[in-house]
Amino acid sequence: MAARLAEEWFAICGGCEVTILDIGEPLIDVLKKVEIVHMPVIMDHKLFGQTGENKEMEIPAADVGLISGGIRSEEHKKLAQEMRKKCKILISLGSCACFGGIPALNNLYTTEELLQKVYRDSVSTESNGIPHEEIPALTDRVYAVHEVVKVDAYLPGCPTTPEMVAGALISILEGKPLPALPSKSVCDECPTKREKKAVSTLKRRFESPEYTPGAPLSEMRCLMEQGFLCLGPATRAGCSGSDGTPRCIRAYMPCEGCFGPLSEKANPMVDMMGALSSIGLDPKQIPDRAATFNRFAGAGRLRPTPKR
């Protein structure tokens, strides 16, 4: 019997849904064993019944539920609860669902400040007031899915990796336990050379690191020591998959931290400020540290700066 799959998306760009497609050929085998019962991105299944006849939102019962995106509105909250009720296994798909992701950068401001900026103060906005009729109210901040309902497994990443999604789906179909997330950091998997001392002052993102084209990555100096803001020390490993080398490093780019912090309680900003100052980089030069180091992990970590 095919496993029933439900998928719902909240505050997200849709990239993690594309990742499901990116699984490639193994997806054909997976799809033979899966019956998709609800997935707004590819099918016309309406929440209030196909003709809007129902009073309550309803999602069909499913064996596996995937949720991508953080929770930004009361509608998302209700849907997350409905998904939890109807799905036997609930999985957070992507960093937005796991830690709030990019939308959670807004947690640096209050919802009132957000609405004021977007609908009134923005220079390019012709203000018609803040919309409030027939739309769900915004929550007070962006929540990760597990802050609202219990989640059984996490597939972080921005976007998450096809390998991880396929691995999780196949484990479920075969009745095996879901693979656990690694507890190592990205630095533990990074092949670059480290000497624990910065060789340069802070560099901007668009500058090119020093490396010999064609030479193996183990001959390149650690990007943080070259002065780039690489979030490797404070980021969970896992993006490298079977390749063994972290995704961004493979492309000679510093880690952005999309796999989220090393633990639920870790604060990447504090860890990164410590790591950068320890190798001798000037912490004062780091632009917008709270947002830079919590780029994907804002839910529960970023909050409006307390007024003194």
Binding site: D271, G274, S277, S278, P283, P306, R308
Partner: protein, 153 residues
């Protein structure tokens, strides 16, 4: 107390009135200089306010910013970090690392809504018992002026 003829600081600076705020200060002292300095202050019977809770660390350079931030966000009113004077570090340059990290800590305190003055980095050598007592006295007074930490419930 002062019956054995040892010098003591004047009573006025030592015993604060009962109703003044008694801060809780975490003092991270390095094993080689500052802890020995504090020890000297003790054996010399130099008096200083009982506000500090001392944690001995091998080097000020091993104190990561998250330890300081955690102390301050979980109820400490101040954090005092003491290390060897520059050039005297038992591990060559651990204290210079601490100095760099102190900059980062001060920047981050603002993000957490904590006054910068609640954190202090001081150099205290093993021979500077009186100086250690003086630093604790000054820092305690400073924290008393600031009042309890905003994170203290």
């Amino acid at each position: 107390m002062a019956t054995n003829g040892m010098p003591t600081a004047s009573a006025a600076t030592v015993t604060p009135p009962v109703d003044t705020f008694q801060p809780l200060i975490i003092a991270l002292c390095c094993n080689w200089c500052s802890y020995a300095g504090a020890d000297l202050a003790g054996v010399s019977r130099i008096q200083y306010p009982p506000s500090i809770r001392m944690i001995r660390v091998m080097c000020s350079g091993m104190v990561h910013p998250n330890l300081v931030i955690e102390a301050l966000t979980k109820g400490a009113d101040g954090v005092l970090m003491c290390g060897c004077h520059p050039g005297d570090c038992h591990y060559q340059e651990g204290n210079l690392k601490a100095e760099k990290r102190a900059e980062a800590i001060k920047l981050m305190l603002a993000d957490f809504g904590i006054e910068e003055e609640r954190f202090r980095l001081e150099w205290v050598s093993a021979a500077e018992g009186p100086r250690f007592a003086q630093v604790v006295r000054e820092f305690t007074e400073q924290i008393q002026k600031l009042g309890p930490s905003p994170y203290r419930q």
